[in-house]
């Protein structure tokens, strides 16, 4: 089954830098109060440039990557899940959410300090650290779980001020001036709310910088993913998960924008130029969909035994990346708006207009919009097949997958569907999934 290498390969040079950014993010959040700073919590999709206007010592923790981080630590995740279930939260709720709530209930943060004082993950020897309570909650609401998630967090923590933005205004292809303004007005109300609960004066200059960072992070991430159209693919999906996550942590943060633009993008361009492959025996290309079962990323390594690389997914490309159709009709990175910000209103308008095009928001309105984007990826990234995850842990991103499957099949792409859960490992059967992969690899001719 193991096949000989066709292409040169090498590890990503920026790997350690990416890991450091992530670790510093969780450390900054935990230590924020020691330095007089502010901690806030919210979703990975929230308009995170807004709280940035409160100062440079304001640190977020985003919920979905936090839930995934716990999922990766199987023992801690089980403790969290069981604690949430004991409180009466059923197993069919969002599994990220249950990990998050469980972490509050058992008062355990998945990071801490080891014997030498280094900030590390709990499974790397960190001493117990309690869950650092946020000062306020800044959330958006497009997925039904999102607002409820933090309502419970606020209740569990004894009441935390919370502001939720309703951004479910319809798909990008039906965007109107009034819909944009509907969201903008909420953000303006939100800024007043933040000033009130923190007692700080809002700085529009910091807001402008954060929005600019947001544009760079999201456009450059898309550009990086577009480079994966190359054969061989310079990135495999398992690595992509470790890189896209930075955008889910703080897409409006300078450290993330700089990393994508100045470090990762040049390195991936170089890999394409030199023909450096993520999977040296690449012969077949597939993509996946939705969040993976985080504690079983080994299935992506298993594909490599067949000379098969998973080049990413609409999920990894479009959760952070912003895209547009280029002159030649193909998908490429969204052009960063060429505007100088002169007022809060104008900056917020540009920010919202840009962000409401997020691909991962579109399929909350129609599974057909998602099918179109998936078929586009399958064609432009030259795929041999698609692996779909019927993800019991995330209803929002799983609704419509059965329709996507039919559309992909009709477009001529073989599809394998497997059941699982992004953050509740009890609902994933590794042996059976691998058996399905075996059969799928036979179907596409890789075995």
């Amino acid at each position: 089954m193991e096949q000989e290498a066709l292409y040169p390969t090498e590890k990503l040079k920026c790997w350690n830098e990416a890991k450091q950014i992530r670790m510093k993010y969780y450390q900054d959040y935990a230590e924020a109060r020691n330095k007089g700073g502010i901690r806030w919590a919210g979703g990975a999709w929230t308009f995170d440039a807004i709280p940035a206007g409160l100062g440079e010592d304001v640190y977020p923790i985003t919920s979905e990557p936090y839930g995934a981080t716990i999922a990766f630590d199987k023992d801690l995740s089980l403790e969290c899940m069981e604690a949430a279930e004991k409180e009466g939260y059923p197993r069919d709720l969002c599994s990220y959410m249950r990990n998050y709530w469980g972490s509050i209930l058992i008062d355990k943060y998945p990071f801490g300090y080891n014997d030498t004082g280094e900030f590390v993950a709990r499974f790397q020897g960190a001493k117990p650290l309690g869950f650092p309570k946020p000062d306020f909650i800044w959330q958006d609401h497009i997925c039904c779980s999102h607002a409820k998630w933090y309502q419970v967090v606020s209740d569990l923590e004894g009441g935390i001020p919370m502001f939720t933005v309703d951004n479910a205004v319809g798909p990008a292809n039906e965007l109107t001036d009034s819909k944009i303004k509907f969201v903008v007005e909420q953000l303006k109300d939100g800024i007043k709310f933040l000033e009130k609960v923190t007692g700080r004066e809002y700085d529009d200059g910091l807001l402008f910088k954060a929005i600019r960072n947001h544009f760079v992070s999201t456009s450059k991430w898309a550009e990086i993913c577009a480079l994966n159209k190359a054969i061989p693919a310079p990135l495999d999906e398992k690595s992509i998960y470790s890189l896209y996550v930075l955008g889910t942590l703080q897409k409006a943060g300078k450290q993330v924008a700089d990393f994508y633009e100045k470090t990762l993008l040049p390195e991936i361009k170089e890999r394409v130029k030199k023909g450096i492959a993520a999977v040296p025996n690449e012969r077949f290309r597939v993509m996946s969909d939705t969040q993976p079962p985080w504690s079983f990323l080994s299935i992506f390594r298993y594909l490599e035994k067949f000379g098969c690389v998973s080049i990413g997914s609409l999920y990894t490309f479009g959760l952070i990346g912003q895209w547009e159709v280029k002159k030649d009709g193909t998908w490429g990175p969204k052009t960063i708006p060429d505007v100088e910000f002169s007022s809060r209103d104008q900056a917020l308008y540009e920010y919202v207009k840009y962000e409401l095009h997020k691909p991962e928001w579109q399929h909350f309105y129609s599974c057909h919009l998602k099918s179109d984007m998936m078929i586009r990826i399958a064609r432009e990234w030259k795929l041999n097949g698609v692996m779909l995850h019927y993800n019991r842990g995330c209803e929002g991103l799983t609704v419509g997958i059965a329709e996507n499957r039919l559309a992909l099949l009709e477009a001529g792409f073989p599809v394998m569907a497997f059941e699982g859960n992004n953050a509740d490992e009890r609902e994933f059967d590794e042996a059976r999934t691998k058996a399905k992969i075996n059969a799928f690899m036979e179907t596409i001719g890789a075995k």
Binding site: A417, D429, A435, K436, E442, T443
Partner: protein, 259 residues
Amino acid sequence: MITMGIDLGAKNVKVVILKDNKVVAKSNVLAGFEVTKNAQKAIDMALKKAGITKDDLDKVVSTGAGEKLAPFYDETKSMVGCDSLGAVYLHPATRSVIDVGAEEGRGMRCDETGKVLDFEVNEKCAAGAGAFTEAMSRALEVPLEEFGALSLKATEEIPMNAQCTVFAESEVVTMVHNKVSKANMAKAVHDAMASRISSMIRKIGFNKDVLLVGGVAKNVGFVESLNKDLELKVVVPKDPEYVGALGAALAAAGWKGGK
């Protein structure tokens, strides 16, 4: 060319030996707890029937849930791949295959060479597999071998809502209290199971040439329920439980359709 296919299923080990693509021997042994040892037993039986030794085998392919527990093999191949090959070999018109074994239900669409085009597998649920009828026949205190024929004597259609073995058993208890006849209950069980399997096969699509394989294909009650649900007559080959092992032996021979 002499090839061997070994299907290490959840309950039984099946072995088929082919000589120039013609079946010369087959054997079937309970897998039990010592799967490798029992697989060896099945292999020895088949070799003896064929009048050959292990050294005469040109190639061996293993398949099934325990494919890697075979005492020896040259390659492994997925069950859906083996089922499709075996099905097309037995009935060349076959383009849709349903395999219901002890632990799993599978549906496949294939081409004229037996290559799988699309497939679906029943995951993590016994209600679409042989384990379901076993549990229900135990609950009704009817020998498994008689359970299928019993349901053909049913006089009524009683819906069984549960799609889960555990809950289905509690529904059976309710039926017992309601004095429902065993024949009607047996039919309710087979209808529920057929509904689950047909929903799976509908997902991938099927044509009129559907071959039903696997041990459960011997259950006439289930076949009747499935035919009714799919509104056609599925073809059940002789010895349906051997089709996976046959496909494995064909794969070992490099068979790709034709005679």
